[in-house]
């Protein structure tokens, strides 16, 4: 099975507070470190596990700049056969639809039976996979948390739905799936693995390589634009409740209800 995994490099914000830049149009990125989006990493691991069971190759692709090569190498160190960087000045500022358009052009240049994405990036909208599928006219499933390859170019998949339930589906290949974290246990990639892959050349595709109309992508073509960032007003430290226990209980329930915590 030929599998394409679309990945993205995102700032790793898990342990650190995010601050805004003075202009307020972006977060302060100087101190941030970047890594592959978490669910994308699960998607790559899943792809590797599928090919280890049924054979095939895994290609990892990202739309970005030279800095993004690092995550391609990391995923190649995990075992992906190919890493591809799609990079063009015309692509900068693309919204989800733009990214999906670029990926569609790339996907059509190959013969992929299965295309995987992560379910969502920290600064994303859980959109590219579904859009890409619609553009390719492939079936799509989101929040996938298990994949079983069936006979006759089909997969049996489960989706993570409410209450820990699993929605079981059968889906025809080729298809696009967005992978939920926890579907597997991604393997560790140490410094050694990355170094061994450090000198492997990464092919780069531009808009003209892919035959993408520059007018259909990039900043100018966006329908959705972020105007600015702001920090939601959250007070530091808890508001300590005082008074009799009854008063406190009532106050707690009032607040909890307001936050949707009461049935």
């Amino acid at each position: 099975m030929e599998i394409l995994v679309c990945v993205r490099r995102v700032p790793d914000t898990s342990e650190n507070e995010i601050e805004l830049n003075p202009a307020g149009n972006d977060i302060e990125r100087d101190e941030l470190v970047y890594s592959i989006n978490e669910s994308d990493n699960y998607a790559v691991e899943e792809a590797l596990q599928i090919v280890s069971r049924v054979g095939g190759k895994v290609t990892v692709v990202t739309v970005g700049g030279d800095d993004d090569e690092e995550i391609l190498r990391r995923e190649m160190a995990m075992g992906a056969s190919h890493g591809v960087l799609i990079s063009d000045d015309a692509f900068s500022g693309s919204d989800g639809r733009g990214i999906a358009t670029i990926l569609k052009a790339f996907a059509q240049k190959g013969q992929y039976d299965l295309i995987l994405t992560g379910v969502q990036a920290d600064d994303g909208a859980a959109q590219v996979g579904g859009m890409l599928a619609a553009m390719l006219d492939y079936p799509f499933a989101s929040l996938v948390n298990s994949i079983e390859v069936l006979e006759g170019r089909k997969l049996k998949i489960s989706r993570e739905i409410e209450g820990g339930n699993k929605e079981m589906n059968e889906i025809d290949l080729p298809c696009v799936l967005s992978i939920q974290t926890g579907i597997n246990e991604p393997r560790y990639v140490g410094m050694r693995g990355i170094r061994q892959i450090a000198s492997v050349p990464i092919p780069t595709f531009s808009a003209s390589d892919l035959g993408v109309d520059p007018a259909a992508v990039g900043q100018a073509a966006t329908k959705v634009k972020r105007v600015d960032y702001f920090v939601p007003a959250v007070g530091r430290g808890a508001e300590m409740l005082h008074g009799s226990r009854e008063e406190i209980v009532d106050k707690v329930l009032e607040l909890v209800a307001a936050k949707g915590g009461l049935k």
Binding site: S14, N16, E31, V33, P186, R187, Y188, G190, M191, R192
Partner: protein
């Protein structure tokens, strides 16, 4: 000789006796040589190991640990029994050869054995055989009646080893009886014939047998004489050839295991012997993945293990019910070697060890505390093997998710929490601390003589920052011109290396070494034994390093540090030895001296202290790993302190503090037991001209 019959002649009616015994000898020796040669096969397919240096030091090790049986008396009963057996064996070994030779040639005498010496020697061996025989009986009774817990084989590791042990004890007993009977029947016959009999040692086994046989007929004695000889020879060769199939192989291999034992215990085995760090990239596979990835010395360890169970008896992971028992790390590998490198048949190619004989959790469960190695009478190495197995798992990407996050954070941020580098020195900026003590960050403008290497947990963990501040105040008090590296300090990488991520460790080390060199300091002080061990042994070309307890002890000795008395008369202190301060670096006395210098401080020792200290649960990345266990090591440790009558545990390591404070809560002993770091206690009790604000021992935890 019995009458006119020597054993060589007595069987002449069947085959020429000499030929029979010669055949037995040749066959026995040939079998043994063949078996040993087969046992050596994997050692030649193993990885390299440099063990041929410093022969004199190695000879010293042999004298102390092999001939001197140095570690054995750590377990009194078993140790004494072993000492006696060992001494008996050494004495009897010479005798055994002479007895064997008698069968081949009457005229052959052990060289150097003149009449008188030989006579004395015979008396000694009579007793030796008797003592060994009695030891066998005692050992068998121990095994069968008293059943020391450490010999038990948990179900997951297979069947009990008792039957095999008893069989072997029995064989040795038979050997002793046969030997004694041989002497006794000869002496009895001589006495009967009025010949000057060989004097037997009074009350020895041969002496008693002779007393029983003295009235037996000459032909009976003759038969006994020859029979005993035959039994002795057969048992001897059976044992010789049977030993390489089990734990008794150590009789042959222990000498070599101890001669080739690791001399620099504190230095971790390199990824590959003979491959310098800068060429590691060219090594195809890291660590131990298959059996052949072990070094030959490590394989020799597997052969040499006597299954005494002392390692596991002292292993905190085993005690806590984690799926690790060092004894079975060895036994399983040995069984694997026997199975895949059989004496008869083809050696077959090996499968990966992880998933077949070892489990992931088993290998990740080790805290590298070193209790097993401290105890092993044969100096078997465990930490290097565990680390090598982990290197293999890291190389295969087989790492628990709970460890992947901190490893990635260490790679990108230099600390396992993923916290910002610029916040590494935030602990110095606590307001009331800053008023009493200014900690400078060493840079181009601010030089210092001494570097306080803080390391990650003390830098970032709210609770442990208090240890950092106490340390800084102590350094300030003793007049050190010190500073910290601040944002450029990286994690020491101590656990990174011990968790098998060598390349990441090297990266962290190199960054730290560059920063330390650039700082121009003359010495390094740290309050973290893990950092101390890393800087002292894992790093090269850095200034000398001390743990803060050593600095304090010196301050106490020179009178630079003086203490006010302990106010609470109800407090009883017990010092918990951190593994990497105590066992791995032998700093046992300095912290105790410091405590004893505090007026009015009541101190007790836990039964497991000093080199038998019981690990708190492990530091560094071990805090992120979630072992399967029945009871936390820390909880066990806290109970040990309570049993010793203590209500304050003093330690000298931020990881110990984390584990012990957590354990106090888990054990439900809040209010009954507290923990304090040595630096915090010293900071609290130190007499200053103007004393600092109240020490900040906030209650924390999760």
């Amino acid at each position: 000789m019995v009458g006119n019959y020597s054993p060589a002649r007595i069987a002449e009616w069947l085959v020429p006796g000499r030929s029979l015994f010669l055949a037995i000898h040749i066959l026995g020796v040939a079998c043994f040589s063949y078996i040993v040669a087969r046992r050596l096969v994997p050692l030649f397919r193993a990885k390299r190991d440099f063990r041929f240096d410093r022969p004199l030091t190695r000879l010293g090790t042999v004298l102390k640990f092999w001939l001197g049986q140095w570690k054995h008396p750590r377990y009194k009963t078993a140790g004494i029994i072993h000492l006696l057996i060992f001494a008996g064996f050494i004495l009897l070994a010479i005798r055994a050869f002479s007895v064997l030779l008698v069968g081949v040639s009457e005229t052959l005498v052990m060289p150097g054995f003149s009449e008188g010496v030989g006579h004395t020697y015979n008396l000694v061996t009579d007793y030796a055989a008797t003592i060994v025989f009695l030891c066998m009986v005692a050992a068998a009774i121990r095994r069968l009646v008293f059943k020391p817990a450490r010999y038990a084989v948990p179900a997951r590791y297979g069947k009990a080893h008792t039957a095999d042990a008893i069989f072997l004890l029995g064989l040795i007993a038979v050997l002793m009886v046969a030997d004694s009977l041989f002497s006794a029947s000869e002496a009895a016959a001589q006495t009967q014939q009025g010949a000057p009999a060989e004097a037997l040692a009074v009350l020895s086994l041969p002496w008693m047998l002779k007393a029983a046989l003295v009235s037996a007929s000459l032909p009976t004695l003759r038969s006994l004489y020859v029979g005993a000889y035959l039994l002795h020879a057969l048992t001897f060769y059976f044992l010789l050839c049977y030993r390489p199939f089990g734990i008794q192989f150590h009789v042959e291999t222990s000498l070599f295991t101890i001669y080739f034992a690791k001399l620099d215990r504190e230095i971790l085995k390199p990824v590959r012997w003979g491959v310098p760090d800068e060429r590691l990239d060219q090594v195809k596979s890291f660590g131990v993945k298959t059996f052949e990835d072990f070094t030959w010395k490590h394989m020799l360890d597997f052969y040499s293990c006597a299954d005494c169970g002392r390692c596991s008896d002292n292993c905190p992971s085993n005690a806590a019910g984690r799926p690790l028992s060092p004894r079975f790390i060895t036994i399983k590998a040995r069984d694997y070697a026997f199975q895949h490198y059989p004496v008869i048949g083809r050696s077959n190619n090996s499968k990966p060890l992880i998933g077949n004989i070892y489990s992931d959790d088993e290998i990740w469960s080790c805290t590298t505390c070193g209790a097993c190695e401290e105890e092993c009478p044969l100096l078997v190495e465990y930490i290097d093997k565990i680390v090598d197995l982990r290197r293999g798992m890291i190389d295969d990407g087989n790492v628990p998710q709970s460890l992947q996050k901190p490893l990635k954070a260490l790679e990108s941020r230099g600390n396992p929490y993923g916290k910002l580098e610029k916040k590494r020195a935030d602990w110095t900026r606590a307001q009331d601390f800053q008023q009493t003590c200014q900690v400078k960050t060493i840079d181009g403008n601010n030089g210092a003589d001494t570097l306080f290497f803080v390391d990650s947990i003390t830098s970032y963990d709210d609770r442990m920052q208090s240890i950092g501040r106490a340390t800084a105040r102590i350094l300030d008090h003793v007049g050190e011109n010190f500073g910290i590296l601040g944002a450029v300090e990286k994690d020491s990488g101590h656990e990174v290396r011990r968790f098998g991520e060598e390349m990441l460790f090297l990266a962290l080390r190199d960054q730290n070494v560059d920063a330390i060199k650039a700082s121009g300091v003359q010495r390094i002080v740290t309050a973290d034994p893990h950092a101390y061990n890393a800087l002292k042994h894992d790093y090269k070309d850095v200034p000398p390093v001390e743990h803060i307890s050593q600095v304090i002890a010196r301050g106490v000795r020179t009178g630079n540090i003086q203490f006010s008395p302990v106010e609470d008369p109800n407090k009883v202190y017990a010092y918990h030895d951190p593994c990497y301060l105590g066992r791995h670096n032998q700093v046992y006395d300095d912290p105790r001296d410091v405590l004893d210098a505090i007026p009015g401080l009541k101190r007790v020792e836990m039964s497991r202290c000093r080199d038998r200290s019981f690990c708190c649960g492990g530091g560094g990345l071990m805090l992120f790993y979630e072992p399967k266990e029945e009871e936390r090591m820390g909880v066990k440790r806290v109970r040990m302190a309570a049993e010793a009558g203590a209500n304050v545990i003093v330690t000298a390591c931020p990881f110990c503090m984390t584990n012990i404070e957590d354990a106090i809560k888990v054990a439900g002993m809040e209010g009954k037991m507290t923990a304090i770091d040595l630096a915090e206690l010293v900071d609290q009790q130190i007499v200053r001209e103007s004393s600092p604000k109240e020490s900040e021992l906030a209650v924390c935890g999760g």
